[in-house]
Symmetry: C2
Subunit: 210 residues, 2 copies
DNA sequence: GGTTGTCTTGGTCGGTTGTCCAAGTCAAGT
DNA sequence: ACTTGACTTGGACAACCGACCAAGACAACC
């Protein structure tokens, strides 16, 4: 095995853990399986991480960051009317989920594991704080792109967005009906449009001049 | 230990498994832990169940039935206007969830476990088929109580109801904010009211909204 | 009262897990 | 060249898991 500084070895092991857990589930992410996936021997894992839990926490942090980046990596849609903007954002978000079934399922496994095991206590709340913050940023993006304002508190709306996406994603993981999920999310998008009101004249003018 | 016919012993073990798994998580529901919880010795479990998986499947079936009964056990609300009827139903549903944190979390653990382990393959889909059917029955109940018809296909709406409840429940399990969950669900209830039209106008609305 | 068949017991077995460690290997600095 | 310290190896360990079994205990029936 190539020799690597511990920091890089850690990153490699985190990616290996992510690969194993996404493919075969969180329970399959044993120290041995991760070492095998990374092509290193068993002791290396405990040389780089104090605990198995420390490895899992690092893996959770990695997947949370990846999810966050993916959510915010959506391009601001071109359309002008709020309905089309929302539709475009939802389609992009849903495509991201549909194309990463393993990691998506792993996210739920991590959440439930975190709620049961004290050593992973912080994982779930960090996951959701990240998701709520990301949802708020997406809502901001829609506000600016579609020249609207939300008639509902931002935090409340963000929590709802995350909840709805979570719910439809979980159902899709169970029965694999992508079309039902897409349709349901688009239905929620039409509801979102009903709580978006046109921006004030000053804001509109400022946006136009800029 | 009292001697029991195998059928009753099975029921007792299922309840013991449910107790252990609700309290300490699905991973804690080992054969030994279940036997200890039931106060029987180790061999009894394998005398009553061929596999540990058979025990888990039986437990999943039990919790699914319990959830279904709980959802349908809600009294038809007294109010006449659709908004109040929906509000009452949602409050009752939410109260049922809020008062059973352990079993609720166990349901999600069962879903994710089912999606990973082939031996539990049917568990998740049965869970959700049951929930979707229950949601449809609740929607029927609201239709009759509030004298409205849904302007959206029943199945689609039921799937949305389950998804939203799932999403808010999961978030509540993570951060424990009961008030946010209740508020979010009531917000969804107000949306539901917008797709409920008075019974006489059913045909009209169906033609308008597709 | 003896027999039959159901239920229970307590232990054993092989396999897997997380953790740990002594020894070995290698690159860099003196 | 030699020392030092970072990194790797492969095995060992105790603990726990699901599964299994021979033997015992009990109730019901002939």
């Amino acid at each position: 095995m190539n020799r690597l500084p511990v920091a890089e070895r850690r990153e490699q092991l985190i990616e290996a853990a992510l690969a194993v857990a996404s493919r075969d589930g969180i329970d399959a992410a044993t120290v041995r399986a991760v070492a095998a996936e990374a092509g290193v021997s068993l002791g290396v894992v405990h040389y780089c991480f104090q605990d198995k839990d420390e490895l899992l926490r690092a893996m959770a942090h990695a997947i949370t960051s990846a999810n966050l980046e993916r959510s915010l990596g959506e391009l601001p849609p071109e359309a002008d009317d709020p309905e089309s903007v929302i539709e475009g954002v939802i389609d992009a978000l849903w495509a991201g989920i549909r194309d990463s079934r393993g990691p998506q399922l792993l996210s739920y496994e991590l959440t439930t594991s975190s709620l049961r095991h004290a050593e992973l206590n912080q994982v779930a709340i960090e996951q959701y704080r990240g998701q709520w913050a990301a949802a708020e940023q997406v809502l901001d993006l829609v506000e600016r792109s579609a020249h609207v304002s939300w008639s509902v508190p931002r935090g409340t709306l963000a929590r709802t967005v995350v909840a709805v996406i979570d719910g439809f994603s979980l159902a899709w993981l169970v029965d694999g009906d992508s079309e039902a999920a897409r349709a349901g999310l688009q239905g929620f998008g039409r509801f979102l449009a009903t709580v978006a009101v046109p921006s004030s004249l000053e804001a509109d003018a400022a946006a136009t001049l800029a």
